[in-house]
Amino acid sequence: MKPAPFEYWAPTSLDEALKLLSGFDDPGDAKVLAGGQSLMALLNLRLAQPAYIVDLNGIAELSSISRDNGTLTIGAMTRQRIAERSADVAAACPLMVQALQQVGHPQIRNRGTVGGSLAHADPAAELPTLAVCLGADLVMRGPSGERTVNARDFFTGFLSTVLAEDEILTAVRIPAAGPGTGSAFEEVARRHGDFAMVGVAAHVQLNGDTIAAASIALSGVDGQPVHAADAGAALAGQTPSDDVFAAAGAAASAGLDPTSDLHASGAYRKHVAGVLVRRALKVATARAKENQ
């Protein structure tokens, strides 16, 4: 199918884009177009029929990668392929590289953006899960200025976030990975590049032979990414072992009640979630050891 007609606006600055968004009669009738790898498909299928499209691709200031004071900042319009190949991203957030390699296909990542994936908030997508795992800060601008919301408070449900209709996500700030940390992104999908049935992001901080802190987030098991906070916190002070990882997997899975769909039953997703948590923790811990 082909998209329904819309008015097309291509601002060249963030201020101009914000002015446009709050100037429409009904801001809810406008959609912000980033890389378009989800929105364009929705337009083609006419699942989305906005009256206005505000295209961010002409706004150079939204595309950047920088690293300072222990924080990696990625501009919202940074192409996923650019982030995947960035030396700064590889050094400060190796989990991002692993996650991006599982996003769609190279042709999708050439066009898709880091911010677009976060704002679209697909519950099966990799980047929202990564942001929740690492407690990344999401920076957004609206008519009344800038605000920052932690990823753990950003996602509110299926394809839903705290972003207001007249706000634009401008950047994601991720705490840089330090010595003794390791991370892993594990997922099960029908085919490479498909949306995962279940995905798990895990981050581990070691102190000698003991786990100092751990964080676990899951995709595909609820309407939004799930932060398995208790299962992660329970790992602090433990000595890593297969039993400890298995217990964490069981704890993370216990609180889940995934729905069934065409791709997998809820019971299967719940089981796979526990297995992937165990695997991701094992890989993340091995990487943390190498990184000490």
Partner: protein
């Protein structure tokens, strides 16, 4: 301030030549190439980014032309499958696929050619068979079983094929 438009004048450099047209903003790049420029070598399968048949190279990177608006290509450079052959002689990528019989019905072939063209243009060098499969995971072929396509790409990346 850019003005809102329901019709927009665009100029896109396609296969090295500037091509101007007036299009509706909702026109996808794929439909612009096929219907406005009569470049029907770019095939359209699923129209929602899943199949890869419509792959073209935009500013040096392989992308889905069904997931990009024609107006977004205004002022940019696009290479389609019609632009890779040199004056009727097949490009080494095409020759390698030909030599290895890497297609059956051929519907997906332009998308594969452009994905490989994008990889080579980015200086991918020689890749393992597994790496080739991952690079081409975004292109679906429903007849070949992929073995011959991977054979063809291996040959193309070996640098031994000239056309």
């Amino acid at each position: 301030m850019t003005s809102p438009m329901t019709q927009r004048q665009i100029t896109v450099t396609v296969n090295g030549a500037a091509r101007a047209a007036t299009v509706e903003p909702r026109r996808t790049l794929a439909d612009f190439l096929r219907h406005d420029l009569d470049l029907t070598g770019t095939h359209l399968g699923c129209e929602h980014g899943a199949c890869g048949a419509c792959t073209v190279v935009l500013d040096g990177a392989a992308v889905r032309s069904c997931l990009i608006l024609a107006v977004q290509a205004d002022g940019h450079e696009v290479t389609t499958v019609e632009g890779v052959a040199d004056d009727g002689a097949m490009h080494p990528i095409q020759q390698a696929l030909w030599d290895n019989q890497a297609f059956q019905c051929g519907f997906c072939t332009p998308g594969f050619v452009m994905s490989i063209y994008g990889m080579v243009g980015e200086g991918c060098g020689r890749l393992s068979r597994q790496e080739i499969r991952e690079e081409l995971s975004g292109n679906i072929c429903r007849c070949s079983g992929y073995q011959k396509i991977v054979d063809g790409v291996e040959a193309a990346l070996s640098g031994e094929v000239t056309a």
